[in-house]
Structures are given as structure tokens and as C-alpha cells.
């Protein structure tokens, strides 16, 4: 029997496979495809303080080996999530979930984290700092080490749950941001969020996405995500959840060798709703081939 378990800040997962925020909703649709309790965990759709409709449509554009999304954090707001969605989720998902929160001010992150702190279903709070900081003239939290540290420290103060900061790849030095988060008390790093990308409709001569640009993800971004995880793993001492372009068991192994303790699968869920199940079934076979007994043994093997 292969041992697929990994531990994220004291939370033991049966396996390292976690659907990524925004690509799995609250799990309700996927449970029609397979028993989602086979997953390590899942990260639910990014939640903000107030309900948000999100961006105008079209919100989706296709790319070679990937896609662009511009959902704009559509969600029912933290109150509805805590009081309506989490209780419903408890009926079909029996493991601790990763609660992804977004925000446009430090206060918004703090409010969301506070409300999630008392939920026993939440295993980890994942703080998506890729949104622009409306209080600082739209500068991104994720591209400024001071802002990233400020959010981290503030969220840490209001919750006892492990806090993972989700980083954006659209920066000159992601290690600098990761280090700032670690120093500010982050329990782990989730990385990477989407690259900023764009497509133009050559017939209409206009951007396909109503908001012009959006977040580019899918298989195409794997080499960038892997490199960044490798760099950050060489810099910080907290666990990393590797995200970006993962679609196969081989990708999972490669990402773990780069230094990730667990992984999240994003866009691939949208084209192949069974991908996480496929990966979980394939992992023990691939481990056999590669002579790996305990999956956690390979974390950072390439460092």
C-alpha cells in the first residue's frame, strides 16, 4: 500500500490533490461526477465580505493549452457562505475544507477570516491577495511585500486556523513576497494564482474578455508555476501548496519534487471534471513505477 498522505500545518490529508479555488465552486456540481470525499481537500470559491456579481461577460477566453477567466470574484458574500453554504456542504463533504478569501482592503480580509474562524469545517484559511488594494489606489497586495505582510499579520491576529497566503506570479520577485509573508507569520504559501493574459477577437477587433484582460491558467503555465515553487521552497521554511497547470499525476510528482507539500488543480477541472479522481487513482501506479513508497518523501527532492 502506497502512502499518499501529506501534512499541511498539522492538517493531515489523505492525498495531496486539492481542487483550486474558483474551479470547484463549493463542490456541489462535482459531487454529481464522483465522490468528492476522495480528495485531499478542496479550496472553495473566493469569498469577499459583501456579495459580488463579478465582472461583465464574456468572462472566458480560450488559449493554447489554457484559458483566461475574468470572473471578478462572484460570490454570495461571507455571511451567506458561513450561514448557508457551509452547513449544506457539511452534508456531502466530510473533510476539512480550505476557505479561500479575497478582499480589497485589509479590513475585508480580517472580517472574512474572523467569520470563518469558528467554523469547524474550515481546515485552512487561504488568503488570495491578488486583488487590487482599493485603499492604496489599486496597487496589488500581492506585488508589494509590505502590503502582503500587513494582510498576513492582520489575518493571523483574528484566527487560530492555519493561514496560507496565495501569491500572484505577476511580480518581479515572488521570493521577496513569500519571505515577507513568512516573516509576518503565514503558516504556508499557496502559489501561483493566474498570470495576467489577454486575447483579441480578430473578427470584431476587440478584446474577447469584457474587462479586456483576465487570469491565464491551465497546462500552459506549469513551467512558470514549477519554477516559482522551486524558488520559494528554497527561500521559506513553511509548506507550499503548488498550483498552476497541474493536469496529471506526473505533474503532481514534479510539483512536489520542486518543493510543494500538496497541490491544487484548477482549470483542468473545468475541461475534465474527473481530473482529480484520475490523478488520485494514477498516483499509486506512478509511485510504483518510480519506486516511491511514501509520497511525502519526495517533497523538495529536486532542491
Amino acid at each position: 500500500m502506497k502512502d499518499l498522505s501529506v501534512i499541511l500545518s498539522g492538517l493531515k490529508l489523505d492525498n495531496p490533490v486539492i481542487p483550486a479555488s474558483g474551479t470547484f465552486g463549493y463542490g456541489a456540481e462535482f459531487k454529481n461526477f464522483y465522490d468528492i470525499n476522495i480528495l485531499g481537500s478542496f479550496s472553495f470559491k473566493g469569498t469577499t465580505q459583501e456579495p459580488r456579481f463579478g465582472n461583465p461577460t464574456p468572462r472566458i477566453a480560450e488559449c493554447e493549452s489554457g484559458m483566461i477567466n475574468s470572473i471578478g470574484l462572484q460570490n454570495p458574500g461571507i455571511e451567506a457562505v458561513v450561514s448557508e453554504i457551509l452547513p449544506k456542504m457539511a452534508t456531502y463533504f466530510k473533510k476539512p475544507v480550505i476557505a479561500n478569501i479575497g478582499g480589497f482592503s485589509v479590513a475585508e480580509f480580517v472580517c472574512c477570516a474572523e467569520m470563518l474562524d469558528s467554523s469547524p469545517q474550515v481546515g485552512i484559511i487561504e488568503v488570495n491577495i491578488s486583488c487590487p488594494n482599493l485603499h492604496k489606489g489599486g496597487r496589488n497586495f500581492a506585488s508589494d511585500p509590505l502590503a502582503a505582510a500587513e494582510v498576513t499579520a492582520a489575518v493571523k491576529k483574528v484566527t487560530d486556523k492555519p493561514v496560507y497566503i496565495k501569491l500572484s506570479p505577476n511580480v518581479t520577485s515572488i521570493t521577496e513576497i513569500a519571505k515577507a509573508c513568512e516573516d509576518a507569520g503565514a503558516d504556508g504559501i499557496s502559489m501561483i494564482n493566474t498570470l495576467v493574459g489577454m486575447r483579441i477577437d480578430i473578427k470584431t477587433r476587440k478584446p474577447i474578455i469584457a474587462n479586456k484582460m483576465g487570469g491565464f491558467s491551465g497546462r500552459a503555465i506549469f513551467p512558470v508555476a514549477l519554477r516559482m515553487v522551486y524558488e520559494v521552497a528554497g527561500t521559506v521554511n513553511i509548506p507550499i501548496i503548488g498550483i498552476g497547470g497541474i493536469a496529471t499525476a506526473r505533474d503532481v510528482i514534479e510539483m512536489m519534487m520542486a518543493g510543494a507539500t500538496a497541490v491544487q488543480v484548477g482549470a483542468e477541472n473545468l475541461r475534465n471534471p474527473y481530473v482529480c479522481k484520475d490523478i488520485i487513482e494514477e498516483l499509486p501506479k506512478l509511485m510504483e513505477e518510480l519506486k516511491i513508497e511514501k509520497l511525502s518523501d519526495i517533497i523538495g527532492a529536486a532542491l
Binding site: 474558483g22 465552486g25 456540481e29 468572462r59 488559449c63 489554457g66 477567466n69 470572473i71 471534471p273
Partner: protein, 244 residues
Amino acid sequence: MKQVFFEIASNILIADKVYELKLSGDTSGITAPGQFVNIMIGGFFLRRPISVCDWDDGSLKIIYKVVGEGTEALSKMENGRLDILVGLGNGYNLTECGKTPLLVGGGAGVPPMYGLCKKLVEAEALPTVVIGFNKAVDVFYKAEFEELGVQTIIATADGSIGVKGFVTDAIKTLDREFSSYCACGPEPMLKALSDTLTIKGQLSFEERMACGFGACMGCSCKTRYGSKRICRDGPVLRSDEVIW
């Protein structure tokens, strides 16, 4: 909602750039006309959403227009297997159609009207069909609708066949009351219908989609009853909830 691997039975040109694709496989996931399927095409990241045109136990028919690279690639497949998610979306509600519904299809919006018409006829309703195209070479499925024994009016923008003008012009020629209307086609057509007709309608919308099964919020739209996902809560919306 189900993943099915279908075998291609045939894939033939039936009008200018329009193909009829017959597939065999498990159709038990399809529950209503107006639902759609989401087709994986080799080499493309996203699936392509296409309406169910017709189905029975073990076979599925869809009709698609070649508009870009995905549908172009699909049109070149003569045999083999296709990975398809079936039974997506709500579809039309037959009960709400009433006894004498008007079915309106425009261009690539015609196919779901065929399946709907068939189910209505089976349920002993008396639908009337109005379908619009740009010109004669674009027209398809006139005979198929007529074989169902329903009155079928064609409108073409250039008048090369049937009534000259839009579907709304053709509808004006029908001096009759309808219990409700169902429509699928370009958004300006849907809006024109909703502006002209006072009876209740069920309108099918399109939006760029990623998942097609409700998980990603890629296809949201605002309605009078809050935000809805075209792929899951739609594609069919009631005329009174649509915000134009």
C-alpha cells in the same frame, strides 16, 4: 449531467457551413429538449457547447455551424469517439409551453427547436414553427419540421426563400393566438421577440463558457430573480426574468 464517450455515426453538411452530427452512445443523461452537450475536441482546451437537436435511446443528433477553429476541426471528423458531457442546462419546460406554442429559431438556434417540437407533438400539443435564416443556402430542417406535421414558416433576410425579413416579420403573417413562445437564436432576435410578443416566453441564451456545468461562474447573467448561470440555471430563461 454525465460524461459519455459517443461514437460518430455520421457528420454531414446540410447547409452552408452547417453540419448534422449523429452520435451513438448513452443518452440517459438528457432530460429535456433545449439542454446542451459540451464536446471535447482534440487540441482545444475548452469543450464546445452545442444544443441537443434530437435524441432517443442510444443516439444523439446535434447540428452545428462552422464559425471558428473548434467547429472547423469537428467538421473534419468522419469517425471515432468523442468525449462529451451530456444533459447540461435546464432545457425548455413542456408544461409551461401550453397547447399551442410558437417555436422560433434563428440560424444556429434552430436545432434545439426541432427536439422541442418533437416532444411537444408527442405530448399532443400543436406547435407552430417559425425559423429564420440569412439566405436560401443557409436553410436547413424545413422538411424535418414538416414531417412532424407542424406548420413551418421560413423567413430569410434577403427573401430568397419564404417571408422576406426577420422571424418577427414572419410571425406577423400568422393571425393566430399562441399559448406561449419558445425561442433560440441571436440575442437581437430574442430581444425583438420579447419586445413584440406579450405572451409568456422561454428564451435560450448563449454565453462563453468554461465548465458548462455550473462550477466556474464563467457564464453568469443578471436576471430579475438574481444572478444565474446560463450553463446550469439556463440556457433557457423565462421572458419575464430577463434583463435586456
